[in-house]
Symmetry: C3
């Protein structure tokens, strides 16, 4: 089970980092800048969560997140020509990572003694704040505010978590079902072009 | 007295959230994105203050701030056509909220044992950082750096707080006078178009 | 020795604040806005480091950093016409400050019991995050992602620190050599137009 979670965590980190690095390359950033954008995309959400929880940021405890992000940079440099063909693979990794990040964010917040509504907010922050920071760094309006269902999939997963918590399911199964819900909500939303309505401006 | 403070706090939160949601709607954000911008505008300043003070962010302790922001979103969705006519009302709420946020920020910082100059900086951050984050999220140059007196009204209120603290006035009265000073400075500055001079660039 | 470090610290703060204030003036910010950009440029990196380390931000302990930034604003206001001629002086101050900020960031992180790789990341954050925030505030793509060697000079200095730590050199000498390496790497990179390659986008 731990190996499976670790795999999802690394796959998600890799996919999140790739998304940052690709957008940075479209803006002509240098290698180092692209790496920074990749790292920020991958660990930004969990870092804000840990700062708000007053915990030591998770990536400062073991170097694997920075290393996986470096591998993502290497991957983009070496396989530049083929990266675009892997869009669907990255999308699946990204959705897996999103689900896992949300479940981990909720579990950690509950461990710190906060109520469920705080945990759902933290799960959503863990999953979506990295992408928001990425878009700020490359000086674009955050995509997650305008495209598909992303943050809302995190909130949905949080609700599934809450429901499962109040059943006899084990904590591991609860986390798995919450992560799977985020994953499915995200995949279905993209496949069927489901999105949140645009807020119409004033007349 | 507590009820009056609570009312001001909610009115300010509501007005701050409205300002974020309206700007987000002008940028075609979806409902969820607009809600996030509204929440960040309303709680961003107090959150940075609490992170710097190493305190648990205030909105994680009770859900009312997220709820008031959700009501602001509903309000904009339902009363979209009439929102623009309420500009003056929102401006007054916004200025009330600003005054209260500054006073609360100063009082909390002093409670944590920091000197007055840190408290004035924290009061100013509490009042103005949310609007700065809002402008970063919608990818605009922060307005508070270029329009009217906003942050400076916070600093002015901090000085009034300091003066009152050194008189026999009660803490509650000190906070009230500081908040009122911010409110008045802001209203007078906008009414008479008083602004800080622009910093001229190099030749 | 302490006097020399204090001098470098103030010179670096001054130069960092000047860089923020000058860019803000090019964007027509008002005096207060320019001051905020200056302060954020000067203390932003160390503030993020202290938040991540869960320490009280350094500028909240003594007011000198805010005062030096205010002097930088006064300097730009009064000597506006001549500031551009001092470009080389500011560049040297900036590079001195960068070196010192990196060394201080590494030393503080090691004191908090983190391993060397975290310290190098923190040194790099201390040196380069302020400039990144500055560019976000003035709504530009961060320069450090695209120009010369900046953040990489910080990483290089961190490696020198690590090497010196494993010799019989005194801690003060280790810090001095690390700071000097950052300074030299930065100066040489600019003088000989050495830069990190741009990450090429997809075909």
């Amino acid at each position: 089970m731990i190996d499976f979670i670790t795999f999802c965590d690394y796959a998600g980190t890799f996919a999140f980092a790739i998304s940052g690095i690709r957008l940075a390359s479209a803006k002509q950033f240098d290698w180092f800048g692209a790496y920074v954008v990749g790292v920020v995309t991958a660990v930004g959400g969990g870092t804000l969560r840990d700062i708000l929880l007053n915990a030591t940021p998770f990536w400062m405890i073991q170097p694997s997140y920075l290393i996986v992000s470096a591998l993502a940079l290497l991957f983009v440099i070496i396989f530049r020509k083929y990266v675009i063909r892997l869009n669907n693979t990255f999308f699946i990794f990204d959705a897996i990572g999103l689900g896992l990040f949300v479940a981990v964010g909720i579990a950690k917040t509950l461990e710190f003694g906060f109520p469920m509504w705080v945990a759902i907010v933290m799960g959503t922050i863990t999953g979506s704040f990295g992408g928001m920071l990425r878009d700020i760094l490359i000086n674009e309006e955050p995509l997650i505010f305008r495209k598909d269902i992303y943050a809302l999939a995190c909130v949905f997963g949080g609700m599934i978590y809450y429901i499962c918590m109040n059943t006899p399911l084990s904590p591991a199964m609860t986390q798995f079902l919450a992560a799977a819900s985020v994953f499915l909500a995200r995949v279905i939303a993209v496949k069927y072009h489901i999105s949140v309505p645009v807020l119409k401006g004033e007349e």
